[in-house]
């Protein structure tokens, strides 16, 4: 692909022309006539984006009104380019040949006599109308491409900002309070499920707590049941303490009394135990 833009039509600013070298001499201007030095032809043809571009150039170069295309002269010039292109770049010539055929077609149809009555009805069917439409549409897009290129472009005219994001600072898990409650309940339900396959291994501990309770109680004095359970107790300790109370009661070492349902429960050393 070639970036040559030296053939842009006059209304636009022409960027610096690429250097076309002919026998070592730079060619800064396109030839005024149709003669192109053979060595420069390939570069010259590369400078055009296709037959429409070339045709547009020819029309603009000769300051012709796009709408007033002189078919005979234009076709003659065009054929000269096509001949030159065929000599060196056959694959490139195909599209130019197609355009030449179109020009000749237009020219021949215009040479044919037209019948008066048909002329009015087929006003829009001027053989050049299609060519004019295509030329203008192409030129419009060609200019639009240049306008797009003139817009500031990311990476070329400005850079986007993206500062370093330290990877070390990993995302921390978030937690909803309800998840904590759920976790706690899961522990409890699991404890229940363990019922049948856990080995009791705290018998000594119950004995130990039984004696601890006995030591805490003052003979003849009541103590509130809940005071037997220290606030910082774990479930395990609560369980063992409770079991110790039950065991003490069973062994009639402890009296447990309650005045009425939901009234405070009191414990007291059994009379015999104090003896």
């Amino acid at each position: 692909m070639n970036e040559a833009e030296l053939l842009d039509p006059p209304p636009l600013e022409t960027p610096p022309a690429p250097v076309i070298k002919v026998r070592g001499e730079p060619l800064t201007e396109l030839p005024q006539d149709l003669y192109i030095p053979p060595d420069a032809l390939e570069v010259f043809l590369d400078a055009f984006e296709g037959p429409l571009d070339l045709l547009l150039y020819l029309i603009r170069r000769q300051n012709l009104d796009v709408l007033d295309i002189p078919m005979a002269a234009l076709t003659k010039q065009y054929m000269a380019y096509v001949e030159a292109a065929r000599a060196t770049r056959l694959e490139l010539a195909a599209e130019y040949l197609l355009m030449a055929a179109m020009l000749i077609d237009i020219k021949s149809r215009m040479l044919l006599p037209r019948r008066e009555q048909a002329e009015e009805a087929s006003e829009g069917e001027d053989p050049r109308a299609e060519l004019v439409r295509r030329l203008l549409e192409y030129e419009q897009m060609k200019l639009a491409g240049q306008h797009l290129d003139a817009l500031p472009q990311a990476g070329r005219d400005f850079d986007t900002v993206s500062v370093f994001l330290p990877a070390a600072a990993k995302r921390l898990p978030s937690l909803h309070p309800e998840e904590l409650a759920a976790a706690w309940l899961a522990i409890l339900s699991r404890a229940k499920n363990r019922t049948h396959h856990r080995i009791g291994r705290q018998e000594l501990s119950i004995r130990e707590h039984m004696s601890r309770i006995l030591k805490r109680l003052v003979p003849g004095e009541f103590m509130e049941f809940k005071d037997l359970f220290p606030e910082s107790s774990t479930v395990h300790e609560l369980v063992v303490t409770f079991l110790a109370v039950l065991e003490l009661t069973k062994e009639t070492l402890l009296d447990v009394t309650q005045a009425e349902p939901f009234a405070p429960i009191y414990v007291k050393l059994h009379e015999s135990a104090t003896e």
């Binding site: 692909m1 984006e49 007033d68 002189p70 419009q140 797009l148 900002v161």
Partner: protein, 225 residues
């Protein structure tokens, strides 16, 4: 730093600025809003609060080498064009300049979308090198957005939000207006670009296409004779 962006506008701006500076792609309002949705306070940030924070941020950055821009894909920080002489010296390779063939193809896709490769070839009058399409696709500027329901089901190309963002634009309507070429472009030809069609419809076009052709026809008679 104990930030409460949901409650405190200054904290909000600190977080927004950090997010926009760190983001690789532009951030939409929805992206930015999502950042605050799971805050402990369980409060989201209203759109207008976000917008005004962004406007204030943009104002705060005014006159510096980097600016906060709103483009098609959202908000982003970008360097000002004035910085380029210095910044380009840090780069090892020159940014690509696209050839005319690429630019023309891009223009046709941008202004006439959706178009098939055949449409592009019709307008340009030459076959389109597949590398041109590939170049534009790899840049993320165009994409196949469907297929035309004709034999062969050719892909229909359109431009992406990334294309607009890379050119600092928010919508297609911000593309440079097409040259009118002597008011020859008739409304029906621009049917694919509604904005342009409207613009043309409003325009006082004295010369209809038919009149133009008639002029051409009359002129040609003299030429031939």
């Amino acid at each position: 730093m104990n930030l409460q962006p949901s409650d405190n506008p200054d904290d909000l701006k600190v977080v927004l600025e950090a997010a926009l500076l760190a983001a690789v792609e532009p951030l939409t309002l929805a992206d930015l809003k999502r950042m605050f949705e799971q805050d402990a306070s369980d409060q989201s940030v209203a759109n207008d609060v976000l917008r005004s924070a962004l406007d204030e941020l943009r104002a705060q950055w005014h006159g510096r080498g980097v600016e906060l821009m709103q483009v098609a894909d959202g908000w982003r920080f970008q360097t000002r064009a004035e910085m380029q002489p210095w910044l380009s010296r840090l780069k090892n390779e020159k940014p690509p300049r696209y050839s005319r063939a690429v630019l023309e193809t891009l223009a046709i896709i941008a202004y006439r979308q959706p178009v098939t490769r055949g449409d592009i070839e019709d307008i340009r009058g030459v076959s389109v090198n597949p590398n041109i399409i590939k170049t534009l696709e790899e840049r993320g500027w165009i994409e196949a957005i469907g297929h035309r329901d004709v034999p062969g089901r050719p892909a229909l190309f359109g431009t992406t939000g990334h294309f607009l963002s890379d050119l600092g634009l928010r919508t297609l309507s911000e593309l440079p207006p097409l040259e009118e070429l002597g008011n020859l472009v008739t409304p029906d030809e621009t049917a694919l670009i509604p904005e342009l069609r409207e613009e043309l419809a409003d325009n006082d076009v004295p010369q209809t296409f038919g009149a133009v052709i008639e002029t051409a026809r009359v002129a040609s008679v003299s030429e031939i004779s």
